[in-house]
Structures are given as structure tokens and as C-alpha cells.
Symmetry: C2
Subunit: 310 residues, 2 copies
């Protein structure tokens, strides 16, 4: 399988990141939209603090590139990607709170409750979560209301009880926060991570299939690809937590290990986790085979996610 | 204008409350839906604690009755009303948190962070907010995807930055939480309350117009009615805070006055606030005039909201 030269991938990643940054800056502007009464400046400032100027924008990138696979480009996928980025940022703001993971640093900056205060951070998360659905429901995302409402439902399903929020609760439970701590089985770790981080990355890829009204087999393929990169992302993240330092990560390193969190790195060891990543990249390539060269960027994305060092 | 006998109104209110309770119980069941990986039992228990067995279900009632005005009845309005109730309950759970209003009692029961813990309460709120959009996007709400996506967008607009969340931030600001405390002008109080509590009650009524695909003038009328009952609700609430006791309210009484929160009762005095309520009820009746007897229940609802004692 031919690969996209790395510089093409890197250029594409930074182009989409810049476009997402611009779009997010507009979305978090101070002017009210129809149906809004006022946008309190403190809230907007704290939302911008949490969303702007940081991150690889991997979720918008996956939306944009998976939509491009089905011939859909432009404003629609970019906005849908920004909705997902807002939702992702809300989860970071709430997870960082003192009563949750109690983190002071995020993307190299003070977390929202440190830079502002706890009440503001809770409201920032609530507002970003709400904004994600506001954005997905806008005409600019797709001319087809059926497409937009499907995006809303799928995102809500992936982000809610049975996805991201439920995964965070299971993660706290695994730390022994509610009851006695006990070691998770490998399968429990996989389930927890599929919920906590996997669901949104998978949804990012599914979004391309939904926006592109892809046929059932193509949708199944992009969904499977999303599940694979979701798992690879988490294993790479767990490896970074063990191997990197706080300055490089821009957030606290070694924290999961210190909390004794069950990860696949714990279950498989560092070498075992690396081998698992190689298997996942090969699986991603196999799933994308029917799409030929049109999927080159997504192939490079899987490798990038598995090999990332920050 | 003829009035519905009070017992008819009371019976209707309790019928819809029972139907909403049943629907919410089903929505908060333990079985996963398509797209969900697992529903963690602790999360479900805490969500049920916050949502079930309490409240007048005024928001579902307003959705059901305003939809009935346009000939839409059954599962659709009831589910849309439950979506709104989930969103309302999320706002109560987050507002009650120690770093927000720090309340121990809600609807006569310990608040979620007291009955469970703070992290669980944050996640319960996040999950309920997400569930609200999940519900609105379901086929059962309306066969028309355009209707559902409009509901999603309008709810997000009313509940987010420029509505409920923004209103809560302004309320904390008015208490002097971020900066020096200063007295609000009457207009500032009206804006704050229109955002914090008014937007959702107004949306409840608008939902009827959207579900019923009402014409522009009918939609404007039901929207205006919603704005009026939203304002009346808040003034009645502020009167109760001054005049009632904690046992009757099932939540802390006298708290707003103690916090020195600006309310219209402070601005207008108790008699002035009562007179304002009478004016609002008369306005509601005027707005509903074109609908004739079909709007009798909504007329009775405006009086009930203005006169409620718990």
C-alpha cells in the first residue's frame, strides 16, 4: 500500500487545524445569535481560554478527512468538526475539575478552574456541550435536516450515559473513588476506554459517512476505522503517560500510573502495547483498502495517531 | 373570558405529570440503546435520584398543552417535554453544587452531590443535558426531521451561552462572586431572569408551535405567552423565597434574600410584585384570546403559575 509522504499529511493536518481555529474563533465571538439574549463576557473569555490556541484538532481533522472520502468538503464538515471539538473541550474542562481528576495544567496553560474559578469552569463545560448541539443543528452543516438530526442523535449517544460520560464515571470507579479499588480485566479496560475516549473519535469518522450519505458497507468500514483509531489513540496516550514528561505533554505526566489506573499498557506491558499499536495500524489499512488512494490521508492518520509523541 | 374550572386544570396537570414520570422512568432504564456501550448503574441511580419522583413537571405540561393547542398530542409532545425536564434537572444538579449555589436539599431530598458525591453530580448533569438532545432527535418526537432539528437548535440556543447557562453566570456575578457586588437595575434583573429561568419555559411553549407547524402569527403568540409565564414564574418564585419556609418549598427558603440577590420583589416590593403578576396574567389572557376556548388550559396555567404557593 502506497503511503502519503509524511509532509503532505503534516501540511494537511496543520491546514485543517488552522481552519478549525478560525471557525472556533468565530463561533466563540461576542455577538449574540438569534434566540440568545446576551453573551456574558466572562463566560466567553473562559470558553475561549479552554478552546482556542491549542491542540492538534484531531477530531475536526477526522471529520473533515472522513467526509472528504465521500466527496463532501467545505463548511459542513468543518463546522461538524468544530461541534465535536467543543464537546471534546467541555469534557476536558469538567474532567480537570478538583472533584474529578484535579488537574492544574492543560495544553500547557492553567486549566479553566485555575485561570478562572470552579463555578465558571462548570458553566464553561455546560455551555460548550450545549454549543456542540447548537452547531450540529445549523443549516450550514448540511442542507438535509435528516443528516443533521442523525448527527445530533449519534453524538448524544456517543457522548452520554453509554459513551463518554459513562466512561468517565467508570474511570473514577476504577480508581476506587466510590467503592473499594480493584484491578480491571483487560476487557473492562477496553470497554472503559471505548466509552471514555473511543466513542468521540469513532463518531468523528462516522460523521463523514453520515454527511456523505455513504452506503451501508462504506459506513460500516469508516465506523470500524473510527473504532480502530480510537483504540490506537488511547494506547498511544497511555504509553505517553508512562514515557513522556509534563513539559512535553503540556499536562501532568505519569498521573495515570500514579493513580494506578488500569490501562492496556499495564495489562500488556510497553512492548506488548507497541505491538498492539502495529496490529491496529495494519487493521486500519485493511479496512481502508476498498477506498484505494482516496483513503491515503486516513491511512497516514492512523499511523500518526499510533506513533504520536505528544 | 370563561375559565376552566380549577379541578379540570389540576386533574390535567397531575395526569401529564404521571405520564411524564412514566416516560422518564423508561428513558432512565438500565438497558442500553443502539450506539451505547454500557449504562453504569451508579450513574443511572444518581440520574434517577435527580429526575424521578418529584416536581410538578411544569415544563412537560407546557409542551404538551401548547402542542395540543395546535392539534398535536400523544408521544411526540410528551417526549419533547421529557427532554426539557431532563435539561431542567441537569441545571438544578449543577446549580446545587458546592462551588455554585451550595444547596443540600432539593424537592425535599438530599441534592445529588449530597446523596452521592460531587464528581457523580457533575456527570449526572452532563449526562442529563446530553440525554435531552438525544431524546429530541428521536423519530418518536416528530416524523419530520426538520421539526426535530429545529427543536434541537432552539433548545440549545435557549439553554446555552445566551440563555440559561449565561443567566446562571450573571446570577453568580450579581452575588459578587467574581468581582465587587453591586445592585442590579430592574432591567438587569429582568434580563438575567429571562436568561436563567425564562428561556426554558418560553422554549416549552414554543415547542408546541414548532411541533404543530403553526403559522407565524400563532407562533409569535405562543412565544409571547411563554415569555409572560416565564416572567410570572420567576416573580412567584421570588415571592415564595421571601414568604415561604424550607419545609413547604422542599428547598432552602430565604436564601436569595440572604445572598442579597436582586429580584423584582426587591425592586418592586411585595405588593408591587403581586400587582405585576396580575398584569402578566391579564397579558397572557390577551395573547391567548385568538385561540378561544382551545386555550383555556393555558389560561388556567398562567393563573396557576402566578398564584402557586410551592
Amino acid at each position: 500500500m502506497d503511503a502519503v509522504p509524511d509532509q503532505d499529511f503534516t501540511r494537511r493536518l496543520s491546514t485543517v487545524a488552522a481552519e478549525a481555529e478560525d471557525a472556533l474563533t468565530r463561533l466563540l465571538g461576542s455577538s449574540t445569535l438569534p434566540g440568545e439574549i446576551a453573551r456574558p463576557e466572562r463566560l466567553m473569555a473562559a470558553m475561549r481560554h479552554s478552546v482556542l490556541g491549542g491542540g492538534k484538532r484531531l477530531r475536526p481533522f477526522l471529520v473533515v478527512e472522513s467526509a472528504a472520502l465521500f466527496g463532501v468538503t467545505g463548511e459542513g464538515p468543518l463546522l461538524a468538526g468544530c461541534a465535536l471539538e467543543c464537546l471534546h473541550c467541555y469534557s476536558l474542562v469538567h474532567d480537570d475539575l478538583p472533584s474529578m481528576d484535579n488537574d492544574d495544567l492543560r495544553r500547557g496553560k492553567p486549566t479553566v478552574h485555575k485561570a478562572f474559578d470552579e463555578a465558571t469552569a462548570i458553566l464553561v463545560g455546560d455551555a460548550l456541550l450545549t454549543l456542540a448541539f447548537d452547531i450540529l443543528a445549523r443549516d450550514e452543516v448540511s442542507a438535509d435536516a435528516g443528516v443533521r438530526v442523525e448527527l445530533v442523535r449519534e453524538l448524544a449517544r456517543g457522548a452520554g450515559i453509554g459513551g463518554m460520560v459513562g466512561g468517565q464515571l467508570l474511570d473514577l470507579a476504577a480508581e476506587g473513588r466510590f467503592d473499594k479499588k480493584r484491578a480491571l480485566t483487560e476487557q473492562e479496560v477496553i470497554t472503559l476506554q471505548a466509552m471514555k475516549t473511543g466513542a468521540l473519535l469513532r463518531f468523528a469518522c462516522r460523521t463523514g459517512g453520515i454527511l456523505g450519505k455513504a452506503d451501508a458497507s462504506s459506513r460500516a468500514a469508516i465506523d470500524r476505522y473510527g473504532a480502530i483509531v480510537g483504540q490506537a489513540f488511547q494506547i498511544a496516550d497511555d504509553l505517553l503517560d508512562v514515557e513522556s514528561d509534563t513539559a512535553t505533554l503540556g499536562k501532568a505526566a505519569g498521573k495515570d500510573a500514579a493513580a494506578g489506573k488500569g490501562t492496556l499498557v499495564t495489562a500488556l506491558g510497553i512492548e506488548g502495547a507497541r505491538a498492539k499499536l502495529d496490529t491496529l495500524v495494519a487493521e486500519a489499512e485493511a479496512v481502508l483498502k476498498p477506498f484505494g488512494h482516496k483513503a491515503d490521508i486516513l491511512r497516514a492518520t492512523a499511523r500518526f495517531i499510533a506513533q504520536r509523541r505528544t
